[in-house]
Point group: C2
Chain length 389, copies 2
């Protein structure tokens, strides 16, 4: 508590400008009156801030399309996408996507490629990301002012050091430093589930929830936590790894040194086992099989019974430990039959003391689709960039 | 993120005053030069603030006892205990303690009593707390300006509503409202483990750790979390309940509706079973038995083997989910033989992916003794009180 920062008057104006810009960035075009009301600032302060931003080309004021109301319509303040562009990188186990994202959250351009064999080595991935970024930025005629990178692993936020990304077979990669050394912009590296949570909180199912958890379930399983409205990080800037919570003592050995981890029971390989598919079944085929199963609810319930029990048990623990109002299921879990998600949600509420206290934790599937981590990566980059626009 | 508050210049001075007072309250007497350095404020600002506080009788400046150095010694700024007094209440399953605590953290006076049968009903407890507080405040000639209350249960911080305190058999008690209605001061009610974490962070083993977890293990088991330097609360102001994390699927049924909860495996009753004592053995006798066992390490290891395995497994989960640098074991766990704590700590480090990433999570026993939750309750009351001193 002794570290509470002190604020100086000259920082206040800057802070207000950034806050206004963040509101426009996240909520989109707004009138001055709305901005004043939402920020609790008087209209003359808003006028000064908006005029300054308009002069700098960061926003534009425009007459909205005519509505049905009488009278003169209020001018809308619009963020200008090209005023601040960030690079977003989503590093997955089999696939890399990059995008250049403008102020307001619009994807201005994107590129992606598959990873196979040697291509997955850190050196190769970094080189490819740098080359693709240069090409894409050149094509679009923009220069990113910051970058966010999503990594499926244990990452130190302070400097983007990847301690371990086991499914990529990366250990000890100074990713932030290496990208920053070439791109010469701030690089924010985050755990993929953490960035998924950020995206859901700002632009997805968890919008307006101050306490939410996002569960990623890809090859690995992870969790990102929004606590009291902001992203939670663990000690030394490392976010926790819910995938390595033990749900089944004495269960399958996990590479992490423990056994019966949630990831070994509800990750992609476990889902393949539950579906009677080989563990290396391509993602597309797993999705096809799950969707087919969804058309026969009782068959789905019986074939997935054990998988669902471990999923439920892990969710009970997550809810009891973190007390979220909302859990968003991502990735492969979004393909689970709707009936199953509903019954898991009901079971978690029944079996979790804390769910009852928070008025029943809601459990829903992500609706942001495949871009969720790319969007989260863009947002952490904007977090660093908005006060420099 | 859109809810980032905006700061107005007139709030800045107030904020700086509170920050300075908090530093004196937590760190004790300091020179003006130290205050300036720690707060990053210039000396004239510090002078203005200290002069104002001295004039209001909140601090005193005094020549320190002569040291060995030559030259004129710097004046020390001392917080005045009677300038702000708070009430701290520690509600345990068998015992209630109250204390009046002065600015700087000194206990000015205290009182406690046992709970038996009807005495444990919410009405009786509230009446007794109010009567004892009035007597104690009268004896000391002080008036508390805020109160903090520690409750072993699921508590909503915003208004001190006790949703469930199962081991007390309390449900739906508007504790904050009822105490506040009579005392007419702000009442801050917290979960006992949460307040234990606050005390350890400010005055105990977790001082200086920005990410720490405190485990309380009394009749029930709970956890309090310090994340990025402040106390973590869950959705709707409810803190999580690590005691109801399932560590043993299919294990003993728990009153919470789940089974194999951490609390059923490492709570007081489980410890009794491990020691071969009846489950209702009085606390004192459990402690005597544990201390005796501590004198024979190999017997201790074998008799406690299963208990230790569930303790370890739960700690692996806590570390993997929350990524703390430090875990502080409280209550009954402080009586575990030292060798056992050391071996649990080594096992948790080995079996937890995140522990390795944060450089090895340390696991230690609390050294604050029986007052830990009382101290935590005082501190949350001071959090609310310091900006009104």
């Amino acid at each position: 508590m002794t570290s509470t920062p002190v604020a100086r008057p000259d920082e206040v104006r800057r802070h207000n400008r950034t806050t206004l810009l963040r509101l426009l960035h996240v909520s989109g075009p707004s009138t001055r009156a709305t901005l004043a009301a939402e920020l609790g600032l008087n209209r003359s302060t808003i006028k000064t801030l908006v005029d300054g931003l308009a002069e700098a080309g960061v926003v534009e004021e425009r007459v909205p399309r005519p509505g049905r109301g009488a009278g003169r319509p209020s001018l809308l303040v619009l963020p200008q996408p090209h005023a601040a562009v960030v690079l977003a990188v989503d590093l997955q186990v089999e696939h890399v996507a990059i995008a250049l994202v403008g102020l307001g959250g619009q994807i201005l351009g994107r590129n992606s490629w598959n990873l196979r064999g040697r291509m997955r080595a850190a050196d190769e991935v970094i080189t490819h990301v740098l080359e693709s970024t240069a090409m894409l930025a050149g094509d679009l005629g923009v220069e990113p002012v910051a970058a966010g990178v999503s990594v499926p692993g244990v990452v130190r936020r302070a400097d983007g050091y990847v301690h371990e990304a086991p499914n990529l077979r990366w250990t000890d990669v100074a990713l932030g430093e290496r990208l920053g050394g070439v791109l010469r912009i701030p690089i924010l590296v985050g755990n993929d589930a953490e960035l998924g949570a950020v995206a859901e909180h700002l632009r997805g199912a968890a919008r307006g929830s101050s306490d939410a958890v996002y569960i990623s379930a890809d090859v690995g399983v992870g969790g990102g936590v929004i606590a009291e409205g902001s992203s939670l990080r663990g000690g030394a800037g490392y976010v926790g790894e819910v995938g390595h919570m033990v749900v089944r003592p004495g269960g399958r050995a996990c590479y992490c040194g423990s056994s019966g981890c949630w990831e070994t029971e509800v990750g992609e390989a476990a889902l393949c086992r539950a579906l009677g598919l080989p563990e290396d079944t391509p993602r597309g085929a797993i999705v096809v099989e799950l969707r087919a199963l969804g058309r026969d609810p009782s068959a789905a319930a019986s074939r997935l019974a054990e998988f669902v029990e471990w999923l439920t048990l892990g969710l009970v623990n997550v809810v009891n430990l973190l007390g979220p109002q909302l859990v968003v299921l991502g990735d492969l879990l979004t393909v689970l039959p709707e009936e199953i998600v509903r019954s898991v949600a009901a079971d978690v509420r029944r079996r979790s003391l804390v769910s009852r206290a928070v008025g029943g934790t809601r459990i829903v599937s992500s609706a942001l689709g495949a871009d969720v981590k790319l969007l989260g990566a863009a947002e952490v980059a904007f977090e660093s960039a908005l006060d420099r626009v």
